[in-house]
Structure formats: structure tokens, C-alpha cells
């Protein structure tokens, strides 16, 4: 840099808005520096009012549900009589579905532990900071890596016969291949969208897809002995 000053000075001449304010912004400025003024609205009462309306709308829906549907209550807890299947709450049924395929230390400890770790470190790694479409840069190299990872993952799931997780993985791989073949200048809006998705988007969407599919299978498609049943077969 030619000049030695490490800051720039600006004067806001709008005396009504910021009387006698001189701004110094250093080059290595902190991210909290407010860069632009834009329309703002008072929290009290406007924003609080909206929040209250949103919460009341939610309460209305929940109250209707509570009036129409009764919470389940079965017989008294009986340690000597195990229901078949014994199911965890719905948000753990994805895990329980995993337990069906893998030993507890993998499905019950390693996988959820890694998921929580991964969620925590998301903002500290530059996973989504570089927000370019995955296949727009280093295309050949990234495609090779993608093929290796997708094939390895699919073979692993196939080996353990985890078809419930394999199917979403394969579907995601196909969509990613479509993204690799799409250009940001494509006439199709959907293809343009796919082409611009970064790596983090694909990883998170795959995770979300697996979460939804495994939870739905555990909830609706598992009967006695954790065998596959169709929801309309009504085993109990």
C-alpha cells in the first residue's frame, strides 16, 4: 500500500441523522461495523406486536389440535411385558433405524456424536464461506473426488444392506451429477440453481434428506421385530 494510514475517514453531513459524527474505519475492520443505513423499524411496539401475532396464530393452531386429538396413553408401565416393537420418541427413530443396521457404539454414539460435532464446527471452518457452485472451479478434480466419495459411501451402505440410507444417497448423487452438468447460464431456472450450490449445501441437504427418510421409516414403516410394514397394514 502506498499510503501509510491504515484507516479512512468519512463524514456524514446529515446533521439530523448523525450530528457531528466522524467515522474511522480501519482496514482490518471488525465485522460489526455497520456499513450501510437501511430502513429500520422500532422493536417496540411494531416487532413485538408481530411476534405476538405469530405466537397467537401458533397457539390457535395448537389449541385446535389439542381439542381434536388426544395424547396417547397406554396401559400402566410393565417391565415384564415388552411391546413389539418398542419405539423411541419420533425424533430418535432415525437413530433407532440406524441401530437396526450398525452396532450401538456406531449408531448410538459415534454417528450422533459426529453429527453434533459437525454442527458445532460448521461456522468455524470455511465450509460455506466459499460459496461458489461446487463444480464451477477445479471441475475435473472435484468431479473425481465426488465420484470416489459417492461410490465409497454407496458401497459401504450396500455392504451393510442399509438400503434405507442408500436410496437417498443415490438420489442425492444423481442430483449432484445433474448439477455438475448444469451451467450457471443455463436457460432452465432449476439448472442454474443447481449449478450455483456450494459444497456445504450438498452436505447439509444430504443430511436433511437422510434425517427425514430414516425418521419417516422408523415412524411409519417398522413393525414387530423391526420388520418392514406398510402404514396401512396396521399391525397392532
Amino acid at each position: 500500500m502506498a499510503d501509510s494510514k491504515d484507516f479512512t475517514a468519512g463524514v456524514d453531513s446529515n446533521a439530523k441523522k448523525s450530528p457531528r459524527r466522524i467515522v474511522f474505519i480501519t482496514r482490518r475492520t471488525s465485522a460489526q461495523v455497520k456499513a450501510e443505513s437501511e430502513d429500520q423499524i422500532q422493536t417496540f411496539p411494531e416487532v413485538l406486536f408481530r411476534a405476538a401475532v405469530a405466537i397467537m396464530a401458533l397457539a390457535t393452531v395448537l389449541i385446535w389440535i389439542a381439542l381434536i386429538f388426544n395424547a396417547p396413553l397406554e396401559g400402566l408401565a410393565d417391565p415384564s411385558h415388552t411391546p413389539n416393537p418398542a419405539k423411541a420418541p419420533w425424533y430418535f427413530l432415525g437413530l433407532q433405524e440406524m441401530l437396526h443396521y450398525f452396532p450401538p457404539v456406531v449408531a448410538g454414539v459415534l454417528v450422533p456424536g459426529l453429527v453434533v460435532m459437525a454442527l458445532i464446527v460448521i461456522p468455524y471452518f470455511k465450509v460455506n464461506i466459499e460459496a461458489d457452485g461446487l463444480f464451477l472451479k477445479d471441475r475435473e478434480k472435484r468431479l473425481r473426488i465426488f465420484y470416489v466419495v459417492a461410490t465409497a459411501l454407496s458401497l459401504f451402505l450396500l455392504l451393510f444392506k442399509v438400503y434405507a440410507a442408500l436410496v437417498p444417497t443415490v438420489i442425492m448423487a444423481v442430483i449432484m451429477l445433474l448439477a455438475a452438468q448444469s451451467s450457471p447460464q443455463s436457460p432452465s431456472k432449476f439448472r442454474r440453481y443447481l449449478a450455483n450450490r456450494p459444497l456445504s449445501y450438498w452436505v447439509m441437504t444430504w443430511f436433511l434428506f437422510e434425517l427425514v427418510v430414516l425418521t419417516a421409516i422408523g415412524t411409519f414403516f417398522r413393525g414387530p421385530g423391526w420388520a418392514w410394514v406398510w402404514p396401512w397394514q396396521g399391525t397392532l
Binding site: T8, S13, I25, A31, Q32, V33, A35, E36, E38, D39, Q40, I41, Q42, T43, F44, P45, R50, A51, A54, I55, L62, I63, I65, A66, L67, A71, L73, E74, G75, L76, A77, D78, P79, H81, T82, P83, P89, Y91, F92, L99, P103, P104, V105, G108, V109, V116, L119, I120, P123, N128, A131, L136, Q185, K189, R192, Y193, A195, N196, Y201, M204
Partner: protein, 279 residues
């Protein structure tokens, strides 16, 4: 001439008692409205102003607000439920039956509590994914994302501990299945399992522990972290919107814009010292 309700309310706000309670004073000037937030022990967690664009439904889907709403409903229904409940086996089951068939509106209370609990778990997940896809965890909001992950775990634990309390077959075996996973932790698994249940199997001790966790420890922990979560929104510069970020931050995290989707919030330019700003 009869006074309007507004006039009565104004008069009330001028009284010495009212003024002694609410420090921010009266009136509807911008200053007073800002003070109404700043001078309030609860509301001061929030910023006094919010970017107008962040109020549109598509910006956040109000998922965080709605999650708070389910939490409030759960507290409001949970406390009356506690009045009719003994955390002992098998009395807990009889109490739940009484709630269903004897207590006035007991069935409704229990229904609302249970469905709101499911809704809260769902909304927390939805909130997390929405924040991720918006990229709202980026600098300087990393730590608030971590607090959010902690709150996700607390929410799951709250729901899970509440699941045992009716002491029916559904509750008993769901907790048995879930707590057995803890045993799978290498080396200390059995110890954790024992600590969680107060025994080697789900029994009366486990019910009491889950009750204390569900009604005392976890809600207080949740309130503690929710307070930090809200406060950090203000300290980290308000609700994230890509177009409002300082140019330096945006340059580091530039989202490529396709011709069709475009810059969603419509502030394509504007440097750090652009006096006109984006909008």
C-alpha cells in the same frame, strides 16, 4: 364529554405508581419507544430497532419466534400439570389417568402440552435448517449458532425426559430403548446409564430423576441459554441478512448470483462509506 380508552390509559401512565414501575416514561416518541426496550429487564435483550426487510415472512419464516411461542405454551401448560402430578410409580400413571378423566380440562392441558412439545422439537430443527440455508451462522454469529446447537440438545432432552412422566407402556419402553443407547458409550457407558436412571433399569428412581430434570434443571438451563441466544442477536448486529452485511464481510462470503434468482434483497452495490447505503 366521555373520555376514550386511550385517554384513560394516558392518564394511568401519568400516575405516580405507573411511573415508579416503568422507568421509560410515557409517550410514543422514538426515544420513548427505544427506552421501552432498553429500560426493560427482559426486552433489553433485543435491539431497539430491526431492519424492516427482516420482518418479511420469507426472511425467517418466524421460526425462532414460533419456537419461543411453543416454549411459553409449554411453561404455561406444564405448571398446572405439575399441580396434579406425583413423580412416583405407579401413582404417576394414576395421576395421568385422573388428568384424562377427572380434572377439569385436564385432558386439554395434557394434549396441548404434548402436541406443543412435538411442535417445539420440529420447529427447533426447522429453525436450524433455515438459519443454515440463509448462511446466518457466518462471522460474527458463529457462537450464537453453537448456542443454538446447545439449545437443540436441551430441547431434545426436555422432550425425552417428559416422555417418561405418564408412566405408561409407551413411556416406559421408549425410555428403555433410548437409555440403552447410553450404555453403548465405550468405558463409561454403564456408569452414564446408571447415573441417568438412578439404577440399572427404568424404575421409580428414573421417574424422579426425569421429573426433576424435566421440571427444574432443563427448563432453567434452557431459559439461561435462550437469554444468551437473544442477546447475542443484538450484539452480533441483528438478524442476518446478506445484503445488509458490511462490504468486507460480504466480499469474504460472496454468494454468486444467477441472472434469474438475482440478489434477493436487492442491494447489489454500496461500499462501506456509501452515504446513501443500499436502500
Amino acid at each position: 364529554m366521555a373520555k376514550t380508552v386511550d385517554q384513560y390509559f394516558d392518564q394511568l401512565q401519568q400516575t405516580r405508581v405507573w411511573r415508579s414501575i416503568f422507568r421509560s416514561g410515557t409517550g410514543s416518541s422514538t426515544l420513548k419507544r427505544a427506552l421501552a426496550i432498553q429500560q426493560n429487564v427482559f426486552l433489553h435483550l433485543f435491539s431497539t430497532k430491526v431492519r424492516t426487510r427482516m420482518l418479511s415472512f420469507s426472511a425467517t419464516w418466524y421460526l425462532g419466534t414460533l419456537t419461543l411461542g411453543t416454549f411459553l405454551i409449554l411453561v404455561a401448560t406444564g405448571i398446572p400439570l405439575m399441580l396434579y402430578y406425583h413423580p412416583s410409580a405407579p401413582q404417576a400413571y394414576a395421576d395421568t389417568k385422573d388428568l384424562q378423566f377427572v380434572v377439569s380440562s385436564g385432558m386439554f392441558l395434557r394434549n396441548l402440552h404434548r402436541w406443543s412439545a412435538h411442535a417445539m422439537v420440529f420447529l427447533v430443527f426447522a429453525h436450524m435448517f433455515k438459519v443454515f440455508y440463509r448462511g446466518a451462522y457466518r462471522t460474527p454469529r458463529e457462537f450464537n449458532w453453537v448456542i443454538g446447537v446447545i439449545l437443540l440438545l436441551i430441547t431434545l432432552l426436555l422432550s425425552y425426559t417428559g416422555y417418561l412422566l405418564p408412566w405408561d407402556q409407551l413411556a416406559y419402553w421408549a425410555i428403555t430403548v433410548g437409555s440403552n443407547i447410553a450404555s453403548a458409550v465405550p468405558v463409561v457407558g454403564e456408569k452414564i446409564h446408571f447415573l441417568l436412571l438412578g439404577g440399572n433399569a427404568v424404575n421409580a428412581n428414573a421417574l424422579l430423576r426425569f421429573y426433576v430434570l424435566h421440571c427444574m434443571i432443563l427448563p432453567l438451563t434452557a431459559i439461561f441459554f435462550v437469554a444468551i441466544h437473544f442477546w447475542r442477536i443484538r450484539k452480533d448486529g441483528g438478524l442476518y441478512s446478506h445484503g445488509s452485511e458490511p462490504a468486507t464481510v460480504r466480499a469474504a462470503a460472496e454468494i454468486p448470483t444467477s441472472p434469474a434468482s438475482g440478489e434477493k434483497w436487492g442491494t447489489p452495490s454500496g461500499g462501506a462509506l456509501n452515504p446513501k447505503g443500499g436502500n
